[in-house]
Amino acid sequence: MAKVSFHHNDGSVDVLDVDPGTSLMRAAVTNGVAGIVGECGGQAMCATCHVYVRPEYLDGLPEISEDEEEMLECTADPRDEDRSRLGCQIKAGEGFDEIEVDVPASQI
């Protein structure tokens, strides 16, 4: 299990225990975490599962693929060159046991 925290702009936080192999996007959508959409179902095709990973958790995450790279150029909220990732491309347990992200104000 990985502990995933989604921090919101209003200061609230959703903390989930996520099964290994489940993406942050799927965990968010299934648990009703506000502000994560995942319109393409996790195919890195829509950029609506954009998250800002907190700096202390960046090491160890999988490399950004070319597909993810292009989609990160199209996020609704500005891209943070270090912290922006697609939630569908980060799977629990792959490089971390715990992660905290900030949820952007908008995804569309």
Partner: protein
């Protein structure tokens, strides 16, 4: 409230028929736009609303008992104060009385009715179509049945080289199965793709080991003693062993309720640019709706997630009269299909007569086809070239263009050009 039906009713009781991509996004958008009245959503499947696109992709690739990806969390309906009816069909609409009748015998009143009924698989009707082991792929139930068979079969025949058929074919091939695809047309995805891209995909599938038979439709199926399919016979008289068959020959919009109640229907339920039917209290959107498309320069009906969700956002504003610009729907259509390692993305809508220009080298396994009409860019098809796709979306969304020479020139920085376009420069 009972208003005289000559003016649209104020939305107080919105009833949505269908809980797929369009219906669920509409619920979300209505609440986000500040609608505080009642919402009833009726879905004929018993499952909590889920996403269909993964069913022909990740779902088929999964090892054991894949789970559907829900459209929202379980608490979505309660959180949004929505009356959700699952496993129930609407059997009739009473327009004068502003009610819908349900298959459980109940009736629900509406001030505003929205038809988000989607589409149904086109049925195959050749001799042998009734044999066991012949599947369609649309619902979660279909996907679970098909997935369960994949570990038990050796040979698969796919009828139709459209998106669903080819996504499935690629997944089956990845599992090492013998895959034959029968396609009546002379190239795959003929309805949606330029000939050059379609032909490239034909070769790419063959390179994967798929036996793609073009110009060969299905003539009949033969079965074994137990009534199970054993082979598919094509229109050229050739026979292909089939432990299972997947039929993907397109869908037909679910217009029966609309027709029954006298609404205009032509390739889907006819709506205007606000997504409204010819009854001012009834809207339709998504796979089931035929709308005036700015990009196709014609009435059109699109089958895609983007179409469903963008139309849902638009419909919410139409119902609540909160459009801050015009009421015309002008969202750029875009679409994707993942077939094994082949990632196809399309921005805009092309016509068969459009002039096509290649960007990049097809032999590299990644390139784009730019489609021009009367000198203007109208669509871009890309395979494994997400940068081109996203740049095309920026350019086309702004109604901008480029020259065919620029499209073909690898030195032309399309990405930077598109970002300038997006910034209104």
């Amino acid at each position: 409230m009972t208003a005289a039906p000559s003016t649209p009713q104020d939305p107080q009781n919105i009833v949505i028929v269908g809980n797929g991509q369009a219906g669920i996004q509409l619920v979300d958008s209505l609440r986000k736009e500040g609608y505080a009245g009642t919402i009833t959503v009726i879905g004929e499947e018993t499952h909590f609303p889920y996403q269909r696109p993964p069913l022909s992709k990740d779902f088929m690739a999964a090892d054991k008992e894949p789970k559907p990806l829900p459209l929202r969390a379980e608490k979505f309906f309660t959180d949004n104060d929505v009356d959700s009816r699952l496993g129930v069909r609407v059997t009739a609409i009473d327009r004068a009385g502003h009610t819908v009748s349900l298959s459980d015998g109940s009736r629900v009143g509406y001030t505003t009715l929205v038809l988000a009924t989607g589409a149904a698989n086109r049925e195959l009707n050749v001799p042998g179509s009734g044999l066991e082991g012949i599947y369609g792929l649309r619902t979660l139930a279909d996907a679970e049945a098909v997935h369960a068979r994949l570990d038990t079969v050796r040979s698969v025949v796919v009828i139709g080289a459209g998106f669903i058929g080819l996504e499935f074919a690629a997944a089956a091939r990845k599992r090492g199965l013998d895959v034959t695809v029968l396609e009546y047309a002379d190239r795959p995805m003929a309805r949606a793709l330029s000939p050059v891209m379609g032909n490239w995909f034909a070769q790419a599938h063959r390179n994967m080991g798929v036996d793609l038979r073009l110009g060969e439709g299905i003539a009949s199926f033969t079965g074994d003693d137990s009534g199970h399919v054993a082979a598919a016979v094509s229109t050229t008289g050739d026979t292909y062993p089939a432990d299972m068959v997947l039929v993907g020959i397109g869908v037909i919009p679910r217009t029966e309720l609309a027709e029954q109640t006298g609404l205009a229907v032509a390739n889907g339920i006819t709506v205007d640019s606000a997504m409204r039917t010819d009854d001012e209290d009834i809207y339709a959107l998504g796979d089931c709706a035929n709308y005036p498309s700015h990009h196709a320069e014609a009435r059109t009906r699109l089958e895609s997630v983007q179409n469903a969700t963008d139309q849902a956002r638009h419909t919410a504003k139409s119902i609540l009269d909160t459009h801050d610009g015009g009421r015309d729907y002008t969202e750029l259509p875009w679409f994707w299909s993942t077939q094994g390692d082949l990632r196809l993305q399309i921005a805009g809508i092309a016509h068969p007569e459009d002039e096509t220009v290649l960007r990049g080298n097809p032999d590299d396994g990644k390139f784009s086809v730019f489609c021009f009409r009367s000198g203007r860019l109208v669509a871009v098809e890309s395979v494994n070239q997400p940068a081109d796709h996203m740049a095309a979306r920026r350019v086309l969304s702004q109604g901008r263009t480029l020259t065919p020479e620029q499209a073909a020139d690898p030195e032309f920085d399309f990405k930077t050009y598109s970002k300038a376009a997006a910034a209104g420069v």
